[in-house]
């Protein structure tokens, strides 16, 4: 089986299994998938939204690739994302009053990066120092971060002119600039540059190689004289920081504010994408486009066809499970051929 099939097969199987679920729910799968494609890719408005949505997803993917390649399971993305988003939304409208827009946007992104990175320090330290499983700790910090983000919005950054708790809104003119009169903001360019840089960092530099050794075998890395603990902390911070950057781009480019209880929960959804791409930063761009169009199309379909967005969640679970299964079968087939 060649690489294309190993990647396409899980997606096709997931779409097929999803179709069975749709039929069971009394919906026409062809109409649903057709409408999703039409809205997500083949209409100009939808395509612009799809590309816009790709920006945060790509940056999260970049964060996950750094972590997973180094053998660090940073599953706390949602908390890191929301905290960075709230801090960005609180800062931007205030900063833009005293400094130029370009400077405001850059400073907000840097601070978002730092805030998210700080939120990953405790799990990183516990893993580096005591070997405590970071899946559990980063998840706990994620729940903590989601609640803390809500507390910040409700108690500290609540815009007094609104009735529902939300932060002040960054004026549309002050947000990230658009590309050539379209609705797509320049966040997507930043995301593309970052994902390519991350790919080069992990595959072409000594630092990236060190992280990969730590990921492949911490024991071997220690024998080679690498500071595994320090590298783990750096990995975690970089991973979380990129996820924080994703949040800043989404707030500065699209929303302009954060409402209480807002949580897009992208963290887990991006995991299947980076595995489909085999942790390859270039390959993940294509999968992110596919997934982004699925999300945008799915949002329209939720209103039009009445299949809620949760269906996309189910699809991604199926993709991941089928991916693992196809990998396994292929591995077994090769073993048999080799033996």
């Amino acid at each position: 089986m060649n690489t294309t099939w190993r990647v396409l097969l899980p997606i096709l199987l997931a779409l097929l299994a999803g179709a069975v679920v749709l039929i069971f729910l009394g919906k026409d799968p062809l109409a649903y998938y057709g409408y999703v494609m039409e809205r997500g890719i083949f209409s100009w408005g939808g395509l612009q939204e799809t590309i816009t949505r790709m920006a945060p997803l790509l940056l999260i993917a970049a964060g996950l690739i750094v972590a997973f390649r180094a053998g660090v399971w940073n599953l706390g993305g949602d908390g890191q994302y929301l905290l960075a988003a709230v801090v960005t939304a609180a800062l931007a409208p205030a900063l833009v009053e005293v400094m130029p827009r370009a400077l405001t946007l850059v400073i907000c992104m840097v601070i978002a990066f730092v805030v998210a990175a700080i939120w990953s320090l405790l799990p990183a330290f516990l893993r580096a120092r005591y070997g405590i499983n970071e899946i559990v700790t980063s998840l706990m910090m994620s729940f903590l971060g989601i609640s803390l983000a809500n507390v910040l919005v409700k108690l500290f950054f609540w815009d007094p002119t609104t009735t529902v708790p939300q932060t002040r809104t960054l004026a549309i003119a002050d947000r990230l600039p658009r590309i050539f009169g379209s609705n797509i903001h320049i966040g997507i360019l930043l995301a593309l540059v970052v994902i390519i840089l991350v790919h080069l960092l992990m595959t072409r530099t000594a630092f990236g190689l060190k992280l990969q050794i730590v990921g492949a075998s911490p024991k071997a890395a220690r024998h080679a004289g690498l500071k595994v603990g320090a590298l783990t902390v750096v990995t975690f911070a970089l991973s979380a920081g990129l996820i924080g950057l994703a949040a800043a781009v989404e707030i500065l480019g699209v929303w302009g504010n954060v409402r209480a209880d807002w949580n897009p929960a992208y963290g887990m959804l991006v995991v299947p994408l980076v595995f489909l791409a085999r942790l390859n930063g270039l390959a993940v761009i294509g999968f992110t486009f596919f997934f982004s169009s699925l999300m945008i199309g799915g949002e329209s379909a939720a209103r039009r066809i009445g299949v809620p967005q949760d269906f996309v969640l189910l699809l991604m679970g199926l993709v991941l499970a089928f991916l693992a299964l196809v990998e396994y079968l292929d591995h077994r087939r090769r073993q048999r051929l080799g033996a």
């Binding site: 516990l126 559990v136 903590l144 409700k154 949760d310 269906f311 969640l313 189910l314």
Partner: protein, 308 residues
Amino acid sequence: MLTQPFLVALLFGAVTAGVPLLLAGMGEQISEKAGVLNIGIEGMMLLGAYCGFVAAYYSGSFALGFLAGGLGGMAVASLVALLCVRLGLNQIVIGIALTLGAEGLTALLHHFQFSRTYPRLDEAPVLALPLLADLPILGPALFAHNPLVYVSVALVAFLGWAFRHTYAGLNLEAAGVKPAALDAAGISVVGTRIGAVLATGFLAGVGGAYLANVGAGLFVPFMTHGAGFIGIVLAMLARGKPLWVLIGAALFGLSLALTTALQVAGINIPTDIVQMLPFALIMLVLVVFARHSVLPAALGLPYERGER
């Protein structure tokens, strides 16, 4: 503040909130002992909650609801058994996939069945223990609960005994610490682990069903809100001792129950702050007892005969 109604509400709530954690924690403990890191337990609880609610709603029987919840959890667990234990796929990846899938599936089914009506169950049946239930404060708080609560506590004692004094318990431990030795003794490592994973699924599913049917009285999408993950932490800190899972579950139950109890006492703290409590507590416990959490040597590794 320490009035009688406040204390009763606090302790009663702690039991209600703690039982799902206890069941999930004990379930995860069984898996971890056998060397399977069950990240999918959140998905098992969620499907258990959904199945348990549907069964109890249409049959009117809470016992049937718990059974259906257990079977729902087992259904997810059987996928873990097949994919991770039998085929040796990555336990973390499959765990994430199953959690995502269960979240999506239950939210979808809920949308089509209940999102317009949001039906509720009647009050869960209560078994007041004779004599004990008449104690002041402690009686209504601890000894007037759904029978499942007492079964769960009894299970703690049973597991504590079974882990150390039965062949099944010892096999379980061997499968996690030195699977090759178990294999050499002529006992199937894969079989032992599959049994453990299915038991985990059943307990987590029952825990989910209790959460929906007794705790909330209805099913809400994503309602487990990390309970399964707390179960994983409890199992991690309990070092293989069910009693410590019970103590941990009680503590987290208390911190979860604080919201309602404070409302009874007329103190209004934003729910978001109170919701942070259990997770903050877990991080604190992990920082303080970091050196003491112990996991089996072969945890997370699939077993293949002859491999070193």
